[in-house]
Amino acid sequence: MTSLPTADTAMSHDHDHAHGHDAPLPEVVLRVKALEELLTEKGLVDSAALDAIVDTYEKKIGPRNGAQVVARAWTDPAYKARLLADGSKAIAELGYSGVQGEDMVVVENTASVHNMVVCTLCSCYPWPTLGLPPVWYKSAPYRSRAVIDPRGVLKEFGVDVPADKEVRVWDSNAELRYFVLPERPAGSEGLSEAELIELVTRDSMIGTGLPKPVGAAA
């Protein structure tokens, strides 16, 4: 392995080995359990409330929310104008606001500009519209390279941006989070909003991917 081991990936496999015979629980598991037990005993947290938070972010908040924003913008020019003028407000119209999505700026991909989003400092990401970020978004390789070699990164993601198309990289931060409005796929003119939603991928809203071509969606 030529890169520094980013523990984001290294740790993800630990649990597979944690339950073997006589294998001690990893230190991190003990730390978390100890903390939750103590806070529960002191009445500072409630396990059922913690379960509900996990459930919400596992099942209810995800990129499908953002896909609805995109599909609406593709079909409703007035909404698109509001979205580009004040992202937070227009996204809230569809009900997607809250923690880590308070201040949103929507950047539009066009025939001449491709936008992509990174958070070089940590992992800032618009939770209400995209859910929690994937590990690669939080990883050192993406955070370090997106700003100095965006075209190389895009190529790694299978996105070939023509040399004459400008690439803009937006560095999200704790106060302000960027969201990419991808280009509406060619040939999608006759599709309904519901059909368009199926074409919008998570990565197309980060800018590391493109929407699915028409006909590819189920």
Partner: protein, 107 residues
């Protein structure tokens, strides 16, 4: 603050490792850390800026060696101790108890 967390433009971290069909959380402990963050936040023990600052103060080698939710755990523990919600001694004692109990559990 300048530090290793400020990764924009650093070189040598290698290819981007992407996972197909990635789950929202990879382990149960990640889920608990994520939720406990809200617990401490709702309890008024810290705000987002304090949380981020605590992660950014991690020694560089620890930051690079540990995962995203380990960064969170580090910050939550530190801020809850600073805020008086728990003490370091209480945590250490409970970890030792859990460790001892784990050894006795039949497999």
């Amino acid at each position: 603050m300048n530090g290793v967390h400020d990764m924009g433009g650093l070189q040598g971290f290698g290819p981007i490792d992407r996972e197909a069909q990635e789950p929202v959380f990879h382990t149960d402990w990640e889920k608990r850390v994520f939720a406990l963050f809200f617990g401490g936040f709702a309890g008024g023990f810290y705000n987002i800026d304090m949380f981020r600052a605590e992660i950014e103060r991690m020694p560089g080698h620890e930051y690079l060696r540990s995962s995203y939710y380990e960064h969170w755990l580090h910050a939550i523990e530190a801020l809850l101790i600073q805020g008086g919600a728990v003490t370091h001694a209480e945590l250490q004692a409970r970890i030792a108890e859990l460790q001892a109990a784990g050894r006795k559990e039949p497999h």
